[in-house]
């Protein structure tokens, strides 16, 4: 990713905002998910209790990760599951390729995995002659459109059905101009059915890895993970170290909140538990760090690893809804994307793509304190001398200025005067981003302090 101005969040967001009707359309689609989530969460009286248990269960697991990872590995081995460990994305990709190459795999069907996106696995495998077919409908759409996902649960949420129709017409031969979602979905079903039946291997992400069972849980609505993993004889599952849960009892808590918070469904259509390969098959689990242990070294950032990737924070985020998933200089957008991605953001801008409104933290089913984490990222950036938007130049001045009553009173007095006597047309060019979009404040005659001295002094 480049450090050029073009990748700075505010710049990309400004471009996105130029088409206001599209912003409204995008915002509305995501807000609908938030509304469905509110109804689903509100329908079970124990919702807040489940959030609290979810949070504590994840905190417990993250603070006992060594034990649970080792327990998970030992139980997997007993279940004839092969376990691999990868320090980073490069090692993950290398391991996956080695397994596939050993089995002479030419074609892999893959269900949604934000981890493989994070590791940029698809291009790595494709460069080595292996075709990777994303099978989640949204993922397939953006794969055909050669775009990154713009959302972690609904990856093609930024595309209109007409655009999907044109894409499918070009790539899958659907009727020109056809944009009916049912028609397009059926066409994708047919297209991907053929891929499932001819694949040499399947890959999935992992929603939860159950330590005491040595099993992985994969949740989908479409059934694509299970169609994939249960046809070819080779199945691979990639998971971050943060996906571990102690037992089935813990998994139940997450299964109760995940889909409700994501889309407002009471549960995903399929919550599948793989505790070993099919007869005559081979099952591999790749456990990946890729920066997670670094985050655990900072107790504020560490809490981001409680995330269960429901996407609820994206749907509620007023900035995400109005700037789109591609405006964040990281694979994962929105509040959780900032929380886990700001340290990798070489534009140093995504930590500021947030008003600190706190809605995300209250939506979160495991109480990830997203606004606090984002605030903390800003502090880390400032300490590292990596401030965006000219802040490193003006903030010290603001600090000095604000700490001096005399300077503050004096210059604000002048500003009030200027607002009073200068015509708006003259002021607007000087008032920058404020006056570009909003009317300037109406200037009062005096400060409160001056009024107080005069009237109560």
């Amino acid at each position: 990713m480049s450090t050029s101005k073009s990748n700075v969040h505010a710049h990309k967001a400004e471009i996105f905002c130029k088409d206001e009707s599209r912003v409204d359309w995008h915002s509305k689609a995501l807000w609908t998910l938030r509304e469905k989530r509110d109804r689903a969460a509100g329908s079970i009286p124990e919702w807040e209790q489940l959030r609290q248990i979810g949070s504590e269960m994840k905190l417990h697991t993250l603070t006992h990760l060594t034990e649970y990872l080792e327990e998970f590995e030992q139980n997997c081995i007993k279940n004839n599951i092969k376990v691999h460990w990868a320090k980073d994305g490069a090692e993950h990709n290398r391991i996956v390729h080695e397994i596939l190459a050993k089995h002479h795999v030419k074609k892999v069907v893959k269900s949604k995995s934000m981890l493989t996106e994070e590791c940029h696995m698809n291009p790595y495998l494709e460069e080595r002659g292996i075709e990777v077919i994303d099978t989640d409908l949204g993922e397939r759409i953006i794969q055909l459109a050669e775009m990154p996902p713009s959302h972690i649960v609904v990856p093609a949420i930024h595309m209109k059905k007409e655009e999907v129709g044109d894409l499918f017409h070009e790539k899958l031969g659907t009727n020109a101009g056809a944009s009916d979602p049912l028609y397009l979905t059926r066409a994708a079903r047919q297209h991907l059915r053929e891929k499932f039946l001819s694949a040499d291997a399947a890959m999935t992400g992992v929603n939860m890895a159950i330590a005491d069972k040595g099993a992985v849980v994969v949740c989908t609505n479409e059934g694509n993970a299970d169609m994939g993993a249960n046809l070819p004889k080779l199945q691979l599952h990639s998971m971050g170290i943060d996906k571990i849960v102690p037992n089935l009892e813990s998994a139940a808590v997450i299964l109760r909140t995940l889909a409700r918070n994501a889309t407002g469904q009471p549960v995903t259509t399929y919550s599948s538990f793989y505790r070993g390969p099919q007869d005559g098959g081979e099952m591999h689990v790749i456990i990946v760090d890729n920066g997670r242990t670094d985050m655990l070294k900072d107790k504020i950032l560490a809490e981001a690893l409680k995330c269960i990737r429901c996407g609820g924070c994206l749907n509620t985020c007023p900035v995400y809804r109005r700037s789109g998933g591609h405006s964040y200089n990281y694979t994962i957008p929105g509040p959780i994307g900032i929380a886990v991605g700001a340290q990798h953001d070489d534009t140093n801008s995504i930590a500021w793509a947030c008003t600190l409104c706190g809605s995300c933290s209250y939506v979160c089913p495991t109480k990830v304190p997203l606004d606090k984490i984002i605030h903390h990222h800003r502090r880390l950036k400032a300490e590292a001398g990596k401030l965006p938007y000219g802040k490193s130049n003006y903030m010290p001045l603001v600090g000095k200025f604000m700490a001096s009553e005399t300077a503050l009173n004096c210059s604000m007095g002048i500003a009030r005067m200027a607002l009073k006597i200068l015509p708006g047309s003259l002021l607007k060019p000087f008032s920058g981003a404020w006056g570009k979009y909003r009317e300037l404040p109406v200037a009062p005659n005096s400060s409160f302090e001056a009024w107080f001295k005069k009237n109560r002094g």
Binding site: A29, L33, E46, I53, E56, M57, L59, H60, L62, L65, T66, L69, E70, E73, K78, N79, W85, A86, K87, L137, G138, I141, V154, A156, I157, K160, K161, V164, T185, R189, L197, N221, E222, G223, N224, D226, N230, L231, L248, E249, S250, A251, A252, R256, Q265, P266, V267, T269, Y270, S272, F273, Y274, R275, Q278, I287, D289, T293, D294, D298, A302
Partner: protein, 189 residues
């Protein structure tokens, strides 16, 4: 150093103080479990057949067969017109699969299906339409109860199925029938 050791070493520098495992003690909603189950099954686009049991189901299956459909049954007492195939791939033309579920979950309409007796794990996914059979008395209140009862022996694969496969990836429009079954009918016994 192996990557595993590298990761476990890095975990030694983790900053958070150890946190205790919370007690998971959530009050179940136990009134009218079948009614709750049916209401939630409907919200996930499934259909419940409360009455008639296996007799009703066999009659339905017979109708499908009479119309030339390919039906495989893994439920004792229900006969279809297809047997378990040598390979999973040969199931790709199955129109209806009749499969036993172990338990239903009232709070979300899900049914636990352990695939150990299915011949091929892919059966409930690859069929065009799915018919699940559960005992009414197997319906539990919530996922806490379901996960404490579900069977998943070492090496096995099981899945909670809540309705037919679906997607809303194109403009949030719900389409039933993505990659898995396009319909789900549940028969109570």
């Amino acid at each position: 150093m192996s990557s595993k050791q590298h990761i476990l070493n890095a975990l030694k520098s983790a900053a958070m103080a150890p946190h205790a495992m919370p007690t998971i003690d959530v009050a179940p909603r136990i009134d009218d479990l079948v009614g709750q189950f049916e209401a939630n099954l409907i919200t996930v686009a499934g259909t419940l057949h409360r009455e008639g049991g296996l007799v009703n189901l066999q009659a339905t299956v017979d109708e499908h067969i009479a119309q030339g459909m390919q039906v495989i049954s893994m439920v004792e007492g229900i006969s279809g017109n297809r047997e378990v195939s040598a390979t999973a791939h040969e199931l790709s033309d199955i129109d209806y699969a009749v499969i036993p579920g172990d338990c239903g979950v009232a709070e979300n309409g899900a049914i636990w299906v352990n695939t150990k007796n299915l011949g091929h794990r892919v059966t409930p996914f690859i069929c065009e339409n799915l018919l699940l059979v559960i005992e009414a008395k197997s319906i539990v209140a919530n996922m806490h109860q379901a996960t404490s009862l579900m069977t998943l022996a070492p090496g096995e694969f099981g899945t909670f199925i809540a309705g037919p496969s679906k997607t809303a990836d194109i403009e949030q429009a719900l389409v039933v029938g993505a990659h898995g079954a396009c319909s789900l009918n549940v028969y109570l016994t």
